[in-house]
Symmetry: D2
Subunit: 359 residues, 4 copies
């Protein structure tokens, strides 16, 4: 049950790094939406390895195929099955992983949980699992854009200590895509790229922060109590590989203010309500208030480093391990489409939930 996300717009991902491929089944998609592979492939291309010199060099075209759920270019309202074949399967590159657990990876925990694991390329723990999410997210983003006028974006805000200045209200896709690190602040982007290149040369990795943004969300999406919009976003983000933290609006910094400083005053103009500040991050009491939603996601430096590390083997004896798989010095540029996808999936689900109960 761990492999399904969403209540009304639901996706179920499947697949290991090595095997028949990876895929996703999307259930609950509204009918009569125009949809072909061309709507999905661009986001997969932004997610795939090998797209630039600062990300993993694994060679995969990640070509998506729609197996069901559409007819003559339109959705049927039946499950949409999407499939991406595995290509760069090099089990030999991972042979040492058969006998040793990579530090800060999921090798050990999978072994202890399931008593078995596919050690080839990380198996199910591979970031290839996110292909299904990004593919499903592309569908959700399209519906949000076309039917609701909602724009979902993400970008890199910080790499290690290098911080960019980004205005959630104004940031544009073309500025994000203008450089390989997906940071819309060109000065910071240049520094970030040099930092990642240095890490790559050292066989090391760096982490940072991705900013997620949703503009144009109408007031009223989200739910009280457990399924607050920010709670579902937090879960979505913490379900991404290598993520370690989430905050929304003023977030961890908001605690430095007092209540009188922190509150967002309401104002009205022309029969419309807005706030003159947005420390709430567009959500109040779990429900969107019509302002821009923005949040941060912290990603740790990825665990696969090209230097020898202490670890244990599958017989629980001390050992050392030097990774030989593909080196991904900074997950952040590829995490951007993942954050967008998960954001769109959460919003799409809540759009349908709101419609069901309240419209």
């Amino acid at each position: 049950m761990a492999n399904t996300f969403g209540r009304l717009f639901r996706l179920t991902t499947w697949g290991e790094s090595h095997g028949g491929g990876v895929g996703v089944v999307v259930d609950g998609c509204p009918p009569r939406l125009e949809l072909t592979e061309a709507d999905i492939q661009p986001d997969l291309d932004r997610r795939r390895p090998g797209q630039s010199k600062i990300v993993s060099s694994r060679k995969e075209s990640d070509t998506v195929q729609i197996l069901s759920g559409t007819f003559e270019g339109k959705t049927l309202g039946t499950p949409i099955s999407l499939w991406v074949r595995n290509e760069d399967a090099r089990p030999e590159a991972y042979s040492e992983m058969a006998t040793k657990f990579r530090p800060s990876h999921a090798d050990y925990t999978y072994q202890v949980k399931f008593g078995i694991r596919n050690w080839q390329g990380g198996g199910r723990t591979s970031a290839r699992e996110t292909i299904g999410r990004v593919a499903a997210g592309a569908i959700a983003r399209k519906i949000l854009r076309e039917r609701y006028g909602v724009e979902v974006l993400a970008c890199v805000q910080q790499v290690q200590r290098i911080m960019a200045r980004i205005d959630p209200e104004a940031v544009k896709l073309k500025d994000i895509e203008a450089n390989m690190v997906r940071c819309p602040d060109p000065v910071a982007a240049g520094k970030m790229i040099r930092l990642v290149e240095g890490a790559r040369k050292a066989g090391d990795t760096v982490g940072g922060i991705v900013l997620g943004v949703a503009r144009g969300v109408p007031p009223g999406w989200g739910e009280p109590v457990f399924d607050r919009l920010e709670a579902d976003l937090a879960k979505a983000m913490l379900s991404l590989p290598a993520s370690k933290g989430f905050d929304i609006g003023s977030g961890f910094d908001g605690i430095l203010l007092t209540g009188t400083q922190h509150n967002d005053p309401f104002r009205a103009r022309g029969g419309k309500v807005y706030t003159t500040a947005n420390r709430s991050g567009g959500i109040q009491g779990g429900i969107s208030n019509g302002q821009t939603i923005y949040f941060r996601v912290a990603f740790k430096p990825v665990a696969t480093v090209m230097v020898e590390q202490e670890t244990v083997d599958v017989n629980f004896r001390n050992a050392t391990l030097k990774a030989r798989g593909r080196h991904d010095p900074c997950v952040l540029p590829r995490a951007v489409p993942m954050v967008e996808a998960m954001t769109a999936l959460v919003l799409m689900d809540h759009a349908l939930r709101h419609k069901a109960q309240c419209e």
Copy 2:
């Protein structure tokens, strides 16, 4: 559907601030567990207002009653219905809320979502809703402690700029409960209390950070992909009123390290695997690794302040509002049992899920 949490150990909360009371139905609790109101009341007492001079002065005894699911002091395996009557119902104190939206509260978003709201005491948005969570969490904590040897704790780590030093491996309940702010560092606690008292006098509020800890969780709990243990914890925490952020292990600070610095080396001793650092926060790939789980939750300064603020009325005209309800200058001491409860509920659910699939 927003009012149910968990898959196998499930709770459904109900109730508004003013009305017949608040309650919770717990479904999926194992049978034959000894359980009476005395197992639940202490946590409710730690959550209730009026327990000290630095929290809300609302007068509620919050006495819990078990309506079903037990027989001769033991659980039956059937739904446990818990009920707490409302006592301090003073609708007149909230009459201005009938016509104006409190800034950074959920009044506006509820109104726009549902087209109706119970404005008395915040209705469903009142923190009284968390009574059901704390009551259910007390049951989960008892099972975790008695059947699995798992200890769940939380404490206040930071109030505004005052930070305490706390070791997740060593922190003890009695040190947490030694002062009214629930911070186990007595020096920091003293400063925090003075800060909160100052805020209270000013009619203002302060926020901060609660640290959550789970010790003794066996390796293997949690799931890959969407229902990662940290993802479910993130959702649980962001579903709490006034929470704005969550991070686990090294969290937002971990991004300052490189991969080689950040990885937790595995070591083995006596056939047991452990890590010599715990930047992972006890979870790897979504699954517990046997180390202590610890995470931070950011709570904003609560929105109800006793000073006049700009807002709009229900007719979407500009207005001002000065709150007259109970003033809660710092939610953190009362958030501690809420964080514990949600942590226990997530762990209990995953304990059962692990048992179902993998044992």
Copy 3:
């Protein structure tokens, strides 16, 4: 998890025969619906024991109380908590049940499943559990009637060998309620009542068939594959105490026809499509086709008989048992509101599901 029904219009029931009462939490109810206890009580009165000489003489007023989810007589969109106190608690009448399993009851299976059971009045297996269903169903029926023009009815079609002639298209509530057995065919009703009275005098019980009807369901409700409308109805009906079978439209009798005889021809008139026969029972491919939905539910003779029977005791030794609890010679008149409630709950859920995905 066994105690929750529905996906979007969800109810969770709780409570044992003896204890604090029985209740239900309804989640997902649309806001702004007028709702007071007076909308619910009439259906509970039709369900309660003691309403006539042919049903159980247990004395319960079954007075419902709304604890949450409404404000000034309207639903809030938050969970509606409904509670009915237990009154006629006579544990002494059941003392022999503490040590012996009643044949064809759930005493033995509960004991073996949970290792514990509340033997007083059957505990959770008591038909009192259906109070929550009928209360929630009353809300669903009201919404179906007022917002969708859908009428849900049920009536007794057969008691043992006595069959009534009933036209699903024409049957009226007032004819159903015209007699204590709830059979709209007055001649058959008279025979049924005499049959039940004879059974009661003999300390025995009789079973039969309840016909369920839903008129005015628009075409398009229901879903392909697993959650077909008839599949959800079947589950709903087989979840009622004492039910043993379900069929829809031509049902078990339809197998005597060939395909050419069985198919329902489509015809069109004034831009509207209808069928000239309705062997489909109003559902095709899991989805309503706009014709009247009708189905049968078989109820066995209830297991509590006032004569000595062979059984075993809790130590798994052979024994005999003569029931001393309330005698309910025929469950059918009280099953009528249960069938109506479950039908309404299934339809309401699918109405919301259809709205979410397809409207």
Copy 4:
């Protein structure tokens, strides 16, 4: 959401009759189970068309491929993705279906629900959808057999008026598979085959009853209230194409008995409890009692007949239609593996649920 079944052992099916194929994702399967395509293919062979002269002549090898979830022949505990390519895609055979609705099919209801449909071969309404169920069911049956000693069987009990005598306690797979109609009573089988051949020659179809049996289910599986074992079985069976009814144990016939005649007396022998009759059908109060589970499923004569029928076209004008697709005169022999699969899926799910809460 209509395309997922089960809570802990979950399957999600996808695919249309014409398109990339059909498939299923199985989530929640226990790890370390030996599993290859050879465990699944035999059940698919029993389900596929063209296997005998009395079923559909559509030519499909229905060869299953495992795309994920296993490693070196064993399950990983991750989602198992199974795929069967479509081969006999002849959209031209169905061209008239593009403009007319087949009577008693789902063409009209899909069109009205979704506003679009894949008319080629019935699209999602094709019986090909059941491939995913049978494949998933084969996995469940294997686990039930190997880990729990539970045997799941089904067979044809009645075709139109021809009834077989079958003892649920004794019926054997080899006797079921001894003839093409899958009826273990050889005399009745012969008559049934002749009847079906007659229907085939006439371009007509016949329906009947499949008997489902589960032997060796331990006492304690199932749940009180909504998810009773018989309720989940009823839903499972009514979700199969062409099914119209379900009853368990004494079922619809049980209503002819009185309570004293109908009750199953308990007896004990050697510390074990059993019943001397089994009118309960192996389930009491929604929970298995250790006796053999048996139930009936009514299947209507399939709607595709080779004779001209009245219908309407997509513009809602009266028309006539003579089907030109593959003729399947009797769905029953192919329904047998479907009933087995759904039975196994329900039992497997409840086995895990029981383990989670009660073991």
